[in-house]
Point group: C2
Chain length 194, copies 2
Amino acid sequence: MFAEIDAYVNRCLSLKTSEMDYFHSILQSRKLEKKTWFLREGEIGEWEAYVVRGCLRKYGMDDDGNEIILQFAIEDWWVGDIASYSLQSPSQVYIQALEDSELLCIHHYDKEALFARVPAFERMFRLMMQRSYIVLQDRFVATLAKPADERYLDFLEKYPGIAGRVPQHYIASYLGITPEFLSRVRARMAKSRK
Amino acid sequence: MFAEIDAYVNRCLSLKTSEMDYFHSILQSRKLEKKTWFLREGEIGEWEAYVVRGCLRKYGMDDDGNEIILQFAIEDWWVGDIASYSLQSPSQVYIQALEDSELLCIHHYDKEALFARVPAFERMFRLMMQRSYIVLQDRFVATLAKPADERYLDFLEKYPGIAGRVPQHYIASYLGITPEFLSRVRARMAKSRK
DNA sequence: CGCGACGTTGATTTGCCTCAACGATTGTGG
DNA sequence: CCACAATCGTTGAGGCAAATCAACGTCGCG
């Protein structure tokens, strides 16, 4: 049950058994059915989750009611609304399972207690935030600087595991384009490859 | 000399005098003249900087040679290329002073040593990364979801201190539009306000 | 079977870009 | 202190990438 997350932790830290045991003791296992929500807009993001199995999406709504996908989370990723979680303020995003999923969840309070008791975990979550930031910045630059077809190819290359796993219109949203336009991009690409 | 950064630290941590002294001992004061670079593309980002006084911009280049502004850094902000700094790999961005500036710089190795000696600093930099991530995510969503004129108004409201301080075409770049288009946006707004 | 979720395609529109020319301001060397 | 060059902002004409709106085919599934 803890095999995957332990490997994740050990990639960043080296801990005593007792510290690892404490970490395990605050994790809560949870199963999430396809199409159910882990977090809804307006709720306080009290939980952060490590994905053991499955696939989720984090998304927000713009003023016209269009969804904007902020993140896909598959195995070995963390997902949560950092803004809401850290400020304990109402969330502006939704987090929803796209497949039946298995999570290990950590509560805000338990995380703070964890930091107090095993400060090394500050490091793990710092490194996690750093990686998230780098990924987001790359994506931001690409969205401004590259046309949609290149961004689509980049996505296929970077996340081959996700592309075949989620509906196409979610990928369009992740890329910052409409489903219709992604369809045209693909049609154009298929034609030019012949 | 350390007044501002000490206040920054004390907002996150409470430290002993000896720990603070050690922190001071690894900081290196540096002045940067207007239009000179703190970091250039291709260099390794060995330094991270706290801005005591002045104003800098961090920017990348797209394939057509257009600049994309990733961040403005004024007083009480940190600036550095996290990707290059944490991976010690060649930077893809430039960091340049827009005014004569005064920085407190910390070297990659000294930061690691600091973490080893005073683990509480992991917390400070974790919180810093979190805030940066939240800001970037907001900006990303706005760039996808809102038209340029709204983003411009948001910017004026959010960073009144920056808007009057840097050339307009840098703000355009920050907003993800061309200088010409920002000029038109402003013209339109001035007309409709009459 | 019938219905909803999904992808495709066509016609039209639009937000923003490109290129180009032009004043105004700033800064700088002689 | 002036002359000249950058730098900066504005404006116009034309173009393009992507959005919008709408219709239609196709699956998977209760």
